[in-house]
């Protein structure tokens, strides 16, 4: 599902963010991407959801070679990838419904279809009663669930999460992780980047460890 071959990422001033990364994540896998802060976890995720191009190497997502993909084709590949961030990235001036509906509006779905889908996903994450609430009136856990709903509402093949529980207390963290496991059981490939060692030991999953931009365990 996700394959990286000898991938390098250099930013300006010659700083190497990633060095010679080769990994393979199979369809339906649940993987933790871990390592200390600044190890390159976020950079690696960014390459996976096509936010940035690699400096060198090949990336294959869902059968498409990202490095050879035309810019105009990228949006269509992105529709197969749901992304969740530590800071949720919800639009504060839009309701929960509108935030989640954005993903489907972008796909060109009908209003009727959007309503149905958004309702279903909000029910799944247990926030159907907060449909018309604005994000800032929700707790951190609720906001993260909304952002997960936004990432999943179009049923992507891959879910990438960057420190999704970084801002949440242990109980809420548990809720979110359970949600990820449930999604994974339904067939979605899940990659969670975290530096929370407790999380990794609690959930027994495959671990890829980064340090100074290199893989030290996979």
């Amino acid at each position: 599902m996700i394959q990286l071959f000898h991938v390098y990422k250099h930013y300006l001033k010659g700083n190497a963010a990633l060095e010679d990364i080769s990994i393979q994540v199979e369809k339906g896998e649940f993987v933790f991407l871990t390592g200390p802060s600044g190890a390159g976890k976020t950079t690696l995720l960014k390459l996976m959801f096509l936010a940035e191009p690699p400096t060198k190497g090949q990336i294959i997502i869902n059968g498409y070679n990202v490095t050879r993909l035309k810019k105009s084709a990228m949006p269509f590949l992105r529709r197969n990838i749901g992304v969740v961030f530590q800071d949720f990235k919800l639009l504060p001036d839009r309701t929960v419904f509108d935030n989640v509906a954005l993903t489907l509006a972008v796909l060109g779905m009908s209003r009727k279809g959007i309503k149905k889908k958004v309702w279903e996903i909000l029910k799944m994450i247990g926030l159907q009663h907060k449909l018309n609430a604005y994000p800032l009136r929700l707790s951190g856990g609720e906001q993260q669930r909304v952002s997960i709903a936004r990432a999943l509402v179009n049923e992507p093949a891959i879910l990438l999460a960057d420190e999704p529980t970084g801002n949440l207390d242990p109980d809420l963290t548990n809720d979110i992780m359970k949600l990820f496991e449930e999604i994974n059981i339904r067939g979605t490939t899940v990659v969670v980047a975290t530096h929370d060692k407790g999380l990794i030991t609690t959930y027994n999953k495959r671990i890829i460890t980064l340090e100074h931009g290199r893989i030290i365990e996979k």
Partner: protein, 302 residues
Amino acid sequence: MKPIERIAYFISTTLKGIKSNLYLNVVTIITIAVAFFILNIFFIIYNNVNSVLGEWKGRIKIIAYLQDGITDSGLTSIENHIKANTGIKNIKYYSKQDALEQFRAELKGQAGILNGVSADVLPAYLAITVKDSVLNNNTIDKIAASVKSIQGITDVQYGAQIAQKVSGILILVKMLGIGIGGFMLFAIFIIISNTIRISIFSRKDEIEIMKLVGATNIFIEVPFVLEGMIQVLTGTSISIVLLYLVYRLFLYRLHSTLGSLFINMNVAFISMNTIIAILIGSALLGIAGAILSTGKFIRNNY
């Protein structure tokens, strides 16, 4: 999404965008209105100067005085000689009697002076009108010289200097128009692209998320392009309404004041065709300005 739903989505997103940046939009629209107002005033001046000078131009004639006692065949031969010159529009013969009538008509109220003057005193003449091309390339001198050399013509008179001045003024007005107009349009283009740029920055979170969930660039850009178009169209419409008010209040009155100075002078408002052209042109300008910014800040992202 059905096409109608998509259009509704784009329009509502555009209006939301304008609403969220209302102050900026208002300032932009006012700036555009002022710029177009100046431009349109110039349009009016140009159109009117052009039509007045055009009329003057139409009045420029070469008057060729004929020898006394010229025969009909002699006259035909002279006319044929004149017609051999390129750029002759029309030749009209005035007999001695016609010349006297003409003179009387020109003197209007003081025609009494001519009492007792017989038509014999005045020479018969040919009034030659020339084509515009002659006035534009200043070949009227050559034609006049050639006419004067024809046997049977005693003298020629023509407003050479006026002809040249009229052409000169028209060219100057045109150049000035192109200069000022071009500068204004460029300024408006820059204003629009900057406003859209600010609009894009203020909604960059939304754009980032839209990209993240797989929105195509066109889908993201359309509301911004519409915003640019709406800004310019609103600004231009305001400027035209404002101009019309100014026209009714001041310029229209000018007509009666200047009417005595300039024969047939009528300060006209810009024509409907010009208004339509301005609106279409400005809408395209707004679209182009917006596309410049969206291209820089939306399409260039990976």
